[in-house]
Symmetry: C2
């Protein structure tokens, strides 16, 4: 049971969380940047852009930056995360992460050493090389931005915008971890794991895509479990009702963590997926086999609202028609 | 004739120019970041990393950031350049620029609007879409980083590290431009040109690669004509003697520009190439056909020094064995 928690308190915590509110500017950016490009199959609103190449080959491209406050608090973890979030972007789409480039703006020797150590640690562990980039050795601020190339097959990809009414929503998270000492909203389930284990977790998504076992998916990023699901529903033009009790979670009391904190966490390894009823058990079983807790937490519906329920109470977290999260319109951007 | 110029003054201007000195940190970064990756054919030291894909297919990945001072001085031009330099990175290798992602950290609405306008202007003009990225809407600084994906054929690529002793050095620059009003070291030959013209200039490099007309090449970036040549020689493990008189240049007096300024310029469209004697005329003719002045400016030798000559005087600009520019060792990094 989830202690000391109500649907209202969870909805409010998620809705007002900066990890979510910072996404509001995305829609406007997209409308400003878009140009015609027929080979671009998906772009903004997906974890990675997809470019069709030589028929059925898919090339994926994504980029992510790290909040400056994390860079100041813990440059090693910032460097590690810069790599991690990019690998997640490609993996979540059922593709293979191939290589990364970085742009580093650095204000001190110490930050540079630590950021680099963090990037190398993750690059080595996940087996994805950093192959180039750009260095500003003398800036008054410290920023690390990473971009990643992935490859896959067009038919095997997992998109965010393809959830169907009636699908079940699956949350899959590695619960064997710790609250990161430098950031109370980061769940570190990765730095202490073997290369074999994290690579198996990443590779599983390619299997799920190739096996057509899921209808949509997205890696759980800064907006947390419910915020990420909200983004998936937003671009799919759907809604969902989620049972808070069903969300996989570690022993919250042992970690001294309220449920409102857990649902806003960036998990080191976590995905939100949707699947047809007949595939849910198999998907959850495969996640368990790579050390991740996966469970059906609710169902996609046609409402365009994300609603949470708990012990008979229910609260709407997002009205995606009225507010949106990224403020992308489902019919205009997710799939071009 | 180049007025009021000596080999010493040019060598000093280039050697001490920040566009060059900021490259010194690259070697250390490379040694820190490298991990084993057999499919990575080239990485640091080249304009873009090259990943072998499905046999003879080449995937290229590069990233570049814009100096913060340019971002503050002229966010439109900073956004435009962020796209331009990435397109150059792919083009210089004889490949096709396919798509870009950006990471934008923005301190004000005005800067965001202008940077975005600049990126869209270049993206539209060159026909290379921006397909995704990341936005920090609320940072105390303003940074734009862009990464780019390119595609090509392994056999058609142009590398930096493949210049041979005896090759001629060709500088190709679009001289029809202006000193950019926001930055005295930027030669803007692009914003006023048609999409057809700039796309023809970019596409020419693919032709030169496919026709095996050049042995090495690099786009002229912040280090300018001689600094860029120095970087090419450094990773090739070679030297060169360059005749300053032969370097293509606009009417310097009309632009009120000393020669020392011109050689440090970032030209809107400029490449340094090396070619065997029998191909030099054809290469220069093809550049002229797309509106770029190209000329042989000297010859590659085995010295590992970049030396400039003018009216019988000669001065060494870089001792690449002793100092280096990027401090990459020719035998360890350019081609893995």
């Amino acid at each position: 049971m989830v202690r000391d928690c109500s649907t209202d308190s969870v909805a409010k915590a998620v809705r007002e969380y900066e990890g979510v509110t910072r996404k509001r500017e995305i829609g406007g950016m997209i409308r400003a940047l878009r140009i015609e490009a027929p080979e671009v199959i998906a772009s903004f609103g997906e974890d990675a852009a997809v470019i069709r190449h030589n028929g059925d080959d898919a090339l994926l491209l994504a980029a992510d930056g790290i909040w400056s406050r994390l860079m100041e608090a813990d440059p090693f973890w910032a460097g590690y995360c810069a790599v991690l979030v990019n690998i997640h972007d490609i993996a979540a789409m059922g593709a293979k992460p191939v290589a990364m480039v970085d742009v580093l703006s650095i204000s001190s020797e110490r930050i540079r050493t630590e950021v680099t150590r963090g990037m190398v640690a993750a690059s080595t562990q996940f087996g994805v090389p950093i192959v180039g980039g750009h260095l500003h050795p003398d800036t008054p601020y410290s920023v690390v931005d990473v971009a990643i190339l992935g490859t896959g097959r067009m038919d095997d990809l997992i998109f965010s915008h393809t959830a169907n009414e009636g699908d079940q929503v699956i949350a899959a998270i590695d619960l064997d971890g710790r609250i990161h000492p430098s950031c109370c909203l980061n769940w570190d389930s990765v730095t202490m794991k073997s290369a074999d284990q994290v690579r198996a977790q990443i590779a599983l998504l390619q299997e799920l895509g190739a096996g057509r076992l899921v209808t949509a998916g997205k890696d759980i990023s800064n907006p947390g479990i419910l915020g990420t699901l909200g983004m998936l529903l937003e671009v799919s033009g759907k809604g969902a009702v989620i049972d808070l009790e069903a969300i996989p979670r570690p022993d919250l009391a042992a970690h001294g963590m309220p449920f409102e904190q857990w649902v806003r966490m960036y998990p080191g390894m976590g995905f939100i997926l949707t699947a047809r009823d007949e595939h849910v058990d198999e998907v959850c079983r495969r996640f368990a086999a790579v050390g991740m807790a996966a469970a059906s937490i609710g169902r996609v519906d046609g409402t365009r609202n994300l609603t949470v329920t708990y012990l008979g109470a229910r609260t709407e977290v997002f009205d995606l028609d009225r507010d949106g999260i990224m403020r992308i319109f489902a019919d205009e951007d997710a799939c071009r």
